[in-house]
Amino acid sequence: MADPGVAVGSFSAPARGRWLVVVARQRELSLVAIMVVLGGLVTLTAPQFLSVANISQVAVLASVIAVAAMGEALVVITRNVDLSVEATMGLVAYAVASLLERHALDTPGALAFGLGLGLVLGMINGVVVTLFKVPAIVATLGTLSIFRGVDYLVAGSHQVPLASLPPGFTDAARDSFFGVPIFVAIALIIMVIGSVILRSTRFGRQLYAVGSNPEAAAILGIPSRLVVFTAFSLCGLLAGVAGILYVMEFGTINGTSATGLVLAVVAAVVVGGVNIFGGSGTLVGALLGALFLGFIANALILIGLSQFWLQAIYGVVILLAVSADAILVRRIQRATAARRVR
């Protein structure tokens, strides 16, 4: 589970800084450790936390965010950001639900349409960023607004009720496959495939290269624009998958579905240790980040705190995660600088 990040992984550390490097390399493991400790504390006050039913419920809910967060991680690794994921999710969710409601397509057809729509929306982001050279934050803030507007335009005040979906369509949200909930299995499969691509393929290494040093990547002859375009396209595709999972999870879909989820998605990426300045981070991290946020939401309910605390705690978690990363990186830099002087 070593971090393939260029920022922290490419030097041999002195004895003084070695534990820091270990922590940094195992950034995902430390997140797991925090979850175990917090989980223990929550279990003391609410024993039902550790029940299989509760844990699988948390994991299923977190899977929706995790799939979108893994797409976001691909974009963030290239030193970009996609703020439009929630609008892509919402638009895909409504399109799929609406097609099924009107029997315009059968279930596989509607799912394929949803995936294709997500991919196209991601490609639009990619074109605006790479071809029109609009900074990613501006481009995706714009497309967030545009995609959501199209969603409103298509949906109007209509709401697709759960009853209009084909019988059994939402079963996937509750069914298991050899004891693993299907949603979790989907997230894990995407994580494994994505991680292999990131670690062991030319495209994967190019993503990190473009994100950690665009100038050097250009000198090396890496087609940066194509790489960034592909990252945005894949992010859109995964947001489409997340949108479909969203329909299966909630069943009732309207023009405002998935509003505000971009915060959870970006939070999962940041908490999962993906560097917002690009060049380092893993899909395992993004997945664990989403699980961590879902876990906190669940713990709040179990210890009887009002849901109103959730937003505030998400905010604190984001601030803590980004502070911890910065402190870690700075310590490592200091440790390696000391070594160079010697």
Binding site: V128, G142, I146, Y152, F277, Y314
Partner: protein
């Protein structure tokens, strides 16, 4: 594109003026007004203008400190939540019997403190403002929900609701517009005519060089976030007054419009350039556009398509203009254009 032309060839200053982003905005506003007038005979009436400007004032007021922050190379996504926290806190204090004369200063102080939190984490902690203010975007909204919960407070005295709803006596000018113009004047002078403004541009253009020239980067940056928090709280108070209701979800979604207005005003997202007059013109342009769309019975939700397109076009058009200009220069055999991204809305040297 403006400054390069202006500095390269002072003899062609009329062309520089023509090429300025602000001029383009004025043309766009005029075009939208003609369009609006052709859509409805009521478009050009003073009453309609008062309405179209009043509905955008909270966004416009928050856009002013945002301009300074983006010029300094940072961003503050938390302003909408701070406006919500201000509304929520004001409602809570009023409902628990605190007179408004005491409650409003408390709310403004909380705004400044929230801004200080952003400022310390970004300026002193060296953390990316995008992530920090995304965190406080959630944090402030969460605090707003904790303070007031899902209820609304609406029994404010008429004197208070006059602030957001009323007009300057004898005219149709809404009070928030007066506040906006006052703030625009003050911040415009600070940004374009004082050493503080020069330092803000210096930080945005080249932080390292600014630091070595003796600019107190940490202090200026932190100060900008405090200002942003304070003014976002003020916008929250005005919003509460205009709607005669304090709610925890007040201002939700406004950050997008605030950032759109600032970038449309010609401010470079990477910092270092942009003007307050440009942003004031962008506020008017967006207000006119929204009003024209409303008269064409386009719903508020669908208007967001136009807003998003506008945001992207505000970067794409200058990019293409720059490319076209360098192509023309190449054909004429003139000097090659300077490399690097286009700088829009460059401030004019005093």
């Amino acid at each position: 594109m403006s400054a390069t032309v202006a500095s390269a060839s002072p003899g062609r200053s009329w062309m520089a003026l023509l090429g300025r982003w602000e001029t383009l905005l004025v043309v766009a506003i005029a075009g939208l007004m003609v369009l609006g007038a052709s859509l409805s005979p009521f478009f050009l009436t003073p009453g309609n203008f008062a309405n179209l400007i009043a509905a955008l004032m909270e966004v416009a007021i928050m856009a002013l400190p945002m301009t300074l922050i983006i010029v300094a190379g940072e961003i503050d996504l938390s302003v909408e939540s701070m406006a919500g926290l201000a509304s929520s806190l004001l409602g809570f204090l009023w409902a628990s019997g605190v007179p408004l004369g005491v409650a409003i200063p408390i709310v403004l102080l909380v705004g400044a403190l929230g801004g200080l939190l952003n400022g310390l984490l970004v300026a002193r902690g060296g953390l990316p403002s995008l992530v920090v203010t995304l965190g406080t975007l959630a944090l402030f909204r969460g605090l707003a929900l904790i303070v007031l919960g899902p209820r609304g407070v609406s029994n404010f005295p008429p004197a208070f609701t006059q602030l957001g709803f009323g007009h300057v006596p004898g005219t149709l000018i809404p009070w928030p517009f007066v506040i906006f113009l006052g703030l625009a004047l003050i911040l415009g002078i600070v940004l374009h005519r004082t050493w503080i403004g020069r330092q803000i541009y210096a930080i945005g253009k080249n932080t390292g060089a600014a630091r070595f020239s003796g600019v107190r980067v940490v202090r200026v940056r932190a100060g900008l976030f405090v200002l942003s928090g304070l003014i976002a709280a003020l916008a929250g108070i005005i919003l509460t007054s205009r709607l005669s209701s304090a709610r925890a979800d007040a201002g939700a979604g406004m950050t997008l419009t605030v950032v759109t207005v600032v970038l449309l005003g010609g401010v470079n997202i990477f910092g270092g350039s942009g003007t307050i007059p440009g942003v004031v013109l962008a506020v008017i342009a967006v207000a006119v556009m929204q009003n024209a769309l409303r008269l064409a019975s386009v719903t508020v939700e669908v208007q967001s398509i136009a807003l998003g397109l506008l945001l992207i076009l505000s970067v794409v058009i200058p990019n293409f203009a720059h490319q076209a200009k360098s192509a023309i220069d190449r054909v004429r055999g003139g000097r090659p254009p300077p490399a690097g991204p286009v700088r829009r809305g460059e401030d004019v040297p005093a």
